[in-house]
Symmetry: C2
Subunit: 254 residues, 2 copies
Amino acid sequence: MNRRVFTNESVGPGQVMNVTGEKGHHFARVLRLRDGEALVVAAANGPHAAVVTSVDAKRGEVTLQIGDPVERRDPAVPVYLVQSFAKGDKVDDVVEKCTELGVAGFCVLPTQRSIGQLTGERLTARLARWRRIAAEAAGQAQRDAVPSVDWYPGLSALDGYLEDVQPGLLLLLDEQETTCGIRTALKEALTQSAPLRSVVLMVGPEGGWDERERAWLRQAGAQSITIGQRILRTETAGLVAASAVLYEIGELGG
Amino acid sequence: MNRRVFTNESVGPGQVMNVTGEKGHHFARVLRLRDGEALVVAAANGPHAAVVTSVDAKRGEVTLQIGDPVERRDPAVPVYLVQSFAKGDKVDDVVEKCTELGVAGFCVLPTQRSIGQLTGERLTARLARWRRIAAEAAGQAQRDAVPSVDWYPGLSALDGYLEDVQPGLLLLLDEQETTCGIRTALKEALTQSAPLRSVVLMVGPEGGWDERERAWLRQAGAQSITIGQRILRTETAGLVAASAVLYEIGELGG
């Protein structure tokens, strides 16, 4: 299977693309693209076939000849994950595995009952690490784009984010909810006349959401759901719920 | 939420249960049960409420008073995972997260393209480790039973296993399959007149199944399926596929 490289630019068949600077360095010296290698360039306007026509590893410059578009692989309905921060490498695993699965973007944030904190240089370093993990997993999984990974200092800071994403369905995974399952919520949303724009899944900390957080989230339009009777760890719940969403919308194989 | 302890015995309301030996040691000194603590005893005949009526930590003896049965939490249709061995702690993660989700049992086995091998003492130690992980995750997730974890020396050794489990549906996750999705296979199985007995999911190694393995598995009744267009790592595929199965059969919340 051809390797994937990601670019935020749009490309077109026949175009010659010179990649220099940081990206050129990355392509030539980190990914070690080889002259003549067939690739997929996952561009802003979709994935395209491409061939490497020159590599100058010393200067960090690569030239690609862009070919035809190839089939898109990312889900047609974007699924986002809002993940309560958890200590250790738990969020690393969440970002890696949910990127493979097809999650479109991640918001990580501290919640009332989060264990561990991230500020200053440690936050900067960790965010860079999550983004690197997302880029690697996106390449490995043959995604069309690298998911965004962002840090929000708290729940109220999500206001702007929710305005940007305009979620078609905002689901709050809540261990106190015993009636409404994720299946009911999804099937109901899919019977609406308007197509489902996006799904945002919110996963709380090990100790669960705080009452004020629940109130704030419901005010913001979130619907509390259960994903079954087993109690999942915070680092497992997002992947399971996202699998359920992608399955229901036909993105885990027809 | 009350803690869970597991026993292979059957219990009944009013019964006084003396736990001694290795199990008593585990209850008194590892789990540190406290006198008067309310528990759930996940027994062979289902989970029951219980109260600790005495603890002798020195002798490793605990007495429990069994109460009424409580609601079962394990899926009504068992889902088993056959996982190709992978090096590092990948199988640890698979066992942990799939146990939380509700998988009924694991077969780990080397396949043609597995990386890494396990034999002798290393195998014994690793198997003990997987079983410990399964027991801990089962308690944490409030399961009704600890999933079995077994090692098979190769694919052909699965013959007896498949005879025991008598899978209602044997699904081979196969990156070469592009047509039949897990959804089609599940929905078809669920429209049969006989209720679905069990589902066995088979996850190959990073390099995929070998042609002879595919032939052997098809002969054994396996159906090749895709779980979508993103390429999942071997340690991610089982959890995603098991989530899809449990979602479809109504076990991830109604």
